[in-house]
């Protein structure tokens, strides 16, 4: 459903993405990982159509991004920025309902059906109790769940999440990771999410893309990432890998020199 062909991007003189080639099929849960500044966010922005590639192209459902009408594309693809914001205090429910915007005609307001979808999305994100609260009264993690609900309210086929786990406590990281899996399984949507945390990037995903210096350094099934020799080769550090709950987990700072 998604194809990236030789896509590059530069911030001024600084290259941020170098000739990325990538194909993603429908119904995959794909993690994008790599060190800070490796191009994870830029890649997601390119696919979200927030920025246009300086070379190469991105294709969605067999059509180049440039040929999609912006609103048509926005109805199919949802994007959660790394630091979602709202300049003015708004109720959580209104924030989530604004995720329906690409479906509204000019001058139309969100109707009961839109608010019902918004409530459903809040429930999915374990945030139904926040409905009447204002964004500026919430913790970072609560706000993140509200903004995720806002993305889900658009019922996108392709969901792009930039560091969705970053502001969450450990219980919600776990819950959120499961939630992404459930959304993919239940709706057949495709999710690409960026995370610099190798454990959570691989725990529930099908596939991991490893970025380094703006290039795609590796593209492998998630289970294959969690091997000491793979980590050493890709990230240049030694880590122990332990098994728990049928999954492999990385324990940094253990093994190697010791």
């Amino acid at each position: 459903m998604l194809e990236v062909r030789g896509a590059s991007y530069q911030y001024g003189e600084q290259p941020a993405l170098r000739a990325i080639d990538l194909t993603v099929d429908a119904g995959q849960l794909v993690a994008v990982t790599g060190p800070n500044g490796s191009g994870k966010s830029t890649l997601l922005k390119l696919i979200a159509r927030v920025i246009a590639p300086s070379a190469g192209e991105v294709r969605f459902e067999e059509r180049a991004l440039a040929s999609w009408a912006p609103r048509e594309y926005a109805r199919r693809v949802g994007y959660l920025p790394q630091e979602p914001e709202s300049a003015f205090p708004m109720r959580a429910l209104d924030v989530v309902a604004s995720g329906r915007a690409p479906f509204l005609h000019r001058f139309a307001w969100e109707d009961d059906a839109d608010f019902a979808i918004a409530r459903e999305a809040l429930t999915t994100c374990d945030a139904a109790h926040l409905e009447g609260r204002y964004l500026d009264e919430m913790s970072g993690g609560e706000r993140k769940r509200v903004f995720l609900a806002r993305v889900l309210a658009g019922k996108p086929k392709l969901i792009l999440l930039d560091e969705p786990l970053a502001a969450l406590d450990i219980a919600h990281v776990q819950q959120f990771s499961r939630l992404m899996r459930e959304v993919v399984d239940a709706t057949g949507a495709t999710i690409l999410f960026a995370s610099h945390d190798l454990n959570w990037a691989s725990a529930f995903s099908d596939r991991v893309l490893v970025m380094r210096d703006g290039a795609l350094a590796a593209d492998l099934p998630s289970a294959d990432l969690m091997r000491a020799e793979v980590i050493r080769e890709l990230f240049g550090f030694d880590a122990a890998v332990v098994e728990s709950g049928g999954r492999r987990w990385l324990v940094p700072g253990v093994g190697g020199d010791e």
């Binding site: 159509r49 914001e85 709202s86 300049a87 003015f88 915007a101």
Partner: protein
Amino acid sequence: MGVETRLSRAALLLGAILLIALALGVSFGATPLSWSDILRGDETSRAILMRIRLPRVVVAALVGAALAIAGATFQTLLRNPLADPFILGVSGGAACAAALATAFGLAQRVPGIVPAVAFAGACLSTLAVFVLARRRDHTDPTRLLLSGLVLNAFFSAIILISFSLSRQSDLTAALRWMMGSLFAASWTEAVILGVLLVPAFAALVWFAGDLRMLAFGEEDARSRGVEVERVKLVGFACASIVTGAAVAVSGIIGFVGLLVPHLIRLAWRRDFRFTLPLSAIGGAILLVLADLLSRSIVANSELPIGAFTALLGVPFFISLLRRAA
């Protein structure tokens, strides 16, 4: 209750208050005006009503609406609740042009030159702020605010120099204009304001659904199908034109653009589609009342209207702020 119903009710409520404010504004003034005289067909009373009072309250309402619309739009565009036409240097540009016209003695020789150059100054300074803030293919809100601040400092310098070079007798008129006054309001001003305000307001309403999405950040808005650069251009153009028109007619009247959208957001706490039309009505109410006070507190003398927008608005603002917290 649907969202539209809420908006209509709010608009009806504010509309009713505006009608009361207009009625008060027309009824009181330097010369006592009796409604029974007018109804009996007294020529003098009719002339005062039609040629002096009515145009003045209409201009006050339009200027108030224009400043509040501009404030609401700038705040949304810059995602900054502190943004208003003054901070962006739009009013400063208008004042600077008017001060120069005074210093060169043009203000006295050419009638109508002050509003004309003020309008041009407002539009030119917006353009300058935009050009200064533009980087590659986008305009960064923080750079826009900074450019506005810097330009304001520049304009202040020119205004000070112009004033020192102006003749004493010309200064009084210039100062009155700088402090904001509706002294010269007539039907001509009302028509000019209306002609500029109505299309700009219509354009903003047309793009209100897009503009409200900008409150979530430009990248987020773009990912939701909003054509961000085009919407920003329309927003800035409209807000600058209505500011320029308001400043040209009334001089510098502060607080309306900053205060009114805040009051509306504190009272209703909804997005730009609410804030825009309600700010227009709210700004009209505030300025009609401020104008009424400015010309009726001291007999045969007009106090600066800008002082009354603040005197009226600030206590109301503080009470809403305290209740919200």
